[in-house]
Amino acid sequence: MKRFERVLAVALPVAQPNFDTDQILPARYLQKPRANDFGAYLFRDLRFRSDGSEVPDFPLNQPAYRDARIVVAEANFACGSSREHAVWALGDHGFRAVIAPSFGDIFLSNALKNGLLPVVLPSDVVAPMLRALLAQPGSRVAVDLEAQTVTGPDRSVHAFAIDPFSKRCLLQGQDELDYTLDQLGHIEAFERRVAAGSA
């Protein structure tokens, strides 16, 4: 997993509530092996027409947003399907953090396991941030994981919460499975208790 420390980058506004993972990564790419660049399929049907040409209105196609590495979105971002490919698509395209008032639960969990930082901020912080990003395309946002702060385009600083374990994994680029494998003794003991009928 890629380490996450601090990102200062152009932010892409996704001004739609309940933006589902089918929009982030359409189902017809789900059978592609992981070795593919899923960034090429990101927002595929919003970004490109069926003939492959770009949809000029789509923000990511506009020069000011092309280097965006942070997404700022409305509530319930990435709801729906559990496809981890949605996280891969954002990550492969270069996105490192997503800021929204809430996320689909499965996406949130998938993101943390792939070095994509999901930041939950209240909607009265996100709404003006979205407006600013739309009014000034190319505005930058900073996300500092160590300090647990987001600095908006207007320089306002907002603290966010993250559980210490996920924070440590992200900062060190470390993976949860290694940690669990260290707990194998506990898992075996649990299985023995179940077999003995006491759990």
Partner: protein
């Protein structure tokens, strides 16, 4: 109930409050190739193959049982990878030639693999389905699937709890699907984010297990981490004698444990919501989120009346995609396709209720209507009851089991601009194919739409007052 299951499965708790939960049952489908690949890359093998069951559903053809007919080698490879990965790991797989094959969320309850009190995980968001039997069932992503394969456990942040009580009696023509669409319309697509929902109330109790599976299935469309219903005699009757349900002495022991599961009536929930079953009408969605659901008697809503500018923009976007004008009667919306199937409504009771609407009538000219049973056993049972003949004589296609047009990964898609009355669970933009327009509804309502060629109130069909 949720607390009891949580506590009895907690292996350890991390200092940040996350718990490592033991997974009793791991269900795997043909989207799992990346998870098996992650496992291989780390040199690990599945820890408890005897607790793991698999069946291909997303990539299987529904016009034949021959994988070789899947033209795209990558798609074919997904189903084949599941069969191969399962065989290598010693995981029981209900493959394409097996009558038990089907949509994983239909197959597992049907085989008696989903039990009250169990923690169930599956790399698919509709795993919430299994909560209908009193299980705690989570949908997970690929990395988590590999984690469960390797360790038979899953880290979870303790969710909040929400009780949704539906009391009273459902009117005629109103089904479990209408209940859950009404719930989502009420609380919103994000209404249950971070929560485990327990459904309660007399209308839920009165539902068959099939109906409860439909309700719990769509919990995820309200953002819930899981949905569940306390087990009762109906649950135990449903499970008794199923192939993988406990038997003999084990059954008696299990019953004792299962009867002790339901929540104390005084148990507190972080949130409570209630609905009057008698006020629920047959529902249909008009937009591109499951929360965009209205009674079939309503009109397409006007964005001008939206509660906020954000909501107005979302509605305008949805109406533009759906090609609908505000004020149009929902019953005036013509349709091109009908899909009866999916893990929401692909069970025997769903097919029976659709067939009851159809009996003796014909699919409207120009409408292409499909019935895709949820499993091989549902298909066989329906054929035993003569339902297939009712559908075929009316002009429906009777297909082989799989996810099919719910998401179209096997190539069963709705064409661009085509409008589909669908018993599936998501009306997202492009869900049934690029440019496809989806209206979610119950099986009886889907059948009625097929006959009339437009969205139709199934109650009028029953009373013979529907316009031709």
């Amino acid at each position: 109930m949720f607390d009891r299951i949580w506590r009895s499965h907690q292996i350890v708790e991390r200092d940040d409050g996350q718990a490592l939960l033991y997974v009793d049952r791991h269900l795997v489908q043909d989207g799992s190739a990346p998870a098996f690949e992650m496992l291989r890359q780390r040199g690990l093998v599945p820890r408890a193959p005897e607790r793991t069951f698999s069946t291909p559903d997303h990539y299987v053809p529904t016009d034949s049982r021959d994988l070789a007919t899947v033209g795209d080698p990558e798609k074919r490879g997904m189903a084949q990878a599941l069969i191969d990965d399962s065989a290598r790991a010693g995981i029981t797989c209900f493959g394409l030639g097996d009558r038990r094959q089907g949509i994983v969320h239909v197959v597992s309850p049907e085989q008696g693999l989903s039990w009250p009190g169990a923690v169930i995980a599956c790399g698919d968001s509709h795993t919430s389905t299994h909560g209908a039997l009193g299980a705690l069932a989570f949908g997970i992503g690929a990395t988590e699937v590999s984690h469960v394969l390797a360790t038979q456990s899953l880290w979870q942040r303790k969710p909040k709890t929400m009780r949704i009580a539906v009391d009273g009696r459902l009117g005629s023509g109103v089904s479990a699907k209408d209940i859950v669409l009404a719930v989502i319309a009420k609380i919103g697509a994000a209404g249950a984010v971070g929560h485990v929902v327990e459904y309660a109330g007399s209308a839920i109790r009165d539902l068959s297990i099939e109906g409860r599976l439909t309700v719990c299935n769509m919990s995820i469309e309200a953002g819930a981490r899981a949905g569940m219903i306390a087990p009762d005699d109906a649950t135990f009757e449903y499970l008794a004698g199923r192939p993988y349900a406990p038997a003999g002495r084990d059954w008696d022991d299990a019953l004792l444990r299962w009867r002790a599961l339901p929540s104390d009536p005084a148990a507190g929930f972080d949130r409570e919501v209630s609905l009057d079953a008698g006020a629920i009408e047959p529902m249909v969605t008009w937009g591109t989120s499951p929360e965009d659901a209205l009674p079939i008697t309503a009109r397409v809503p006007d964005p001008a009346g939206a509660s906020s500018p954000e909501r107005r923009r979302a509605m305008e976007r949805a109406l533009a995609y759906m090609g609908l004008q505000p004020g149009t009667l929902l019953t005036d919306i013509p349709i091109d396709r009908v899909f009866i199937g999916s893990c929401t409504n692909g069970r025997i009771e769903d097919l029976r209720s659709a067939a009851a609407s159809v009996a003796g009538r014909k699919v409207a000219p120009g409408v292409e209507a499909w019935v895709v049973p949820g499993s091989g056993l549902v298909k066989a049972q329906a054929e035993g009851e003569g339902l297939d003949r009712i559908f075929v004589e009316a002009g429906f296609q009777w297909r082989h089991p799989g996810c099919s047009m719910c998401l179209g990964t096997n190539g069963d898609v709705v064409g661009p601009g085509q409008r589909c009355a669908s018993t599936s669970n998501r009306n997202f933009v492009g869900r049934q194919g690029p440019g496809a327009r989806t209206h979610l509804l119950s099986p009886a309502m889907a059948a009625a739409a097929a006959l009339a060629g437009r969205l139709t109130d199934v109650r009028q069909l029953a009373s013979g007052t529907v316009r031709p």
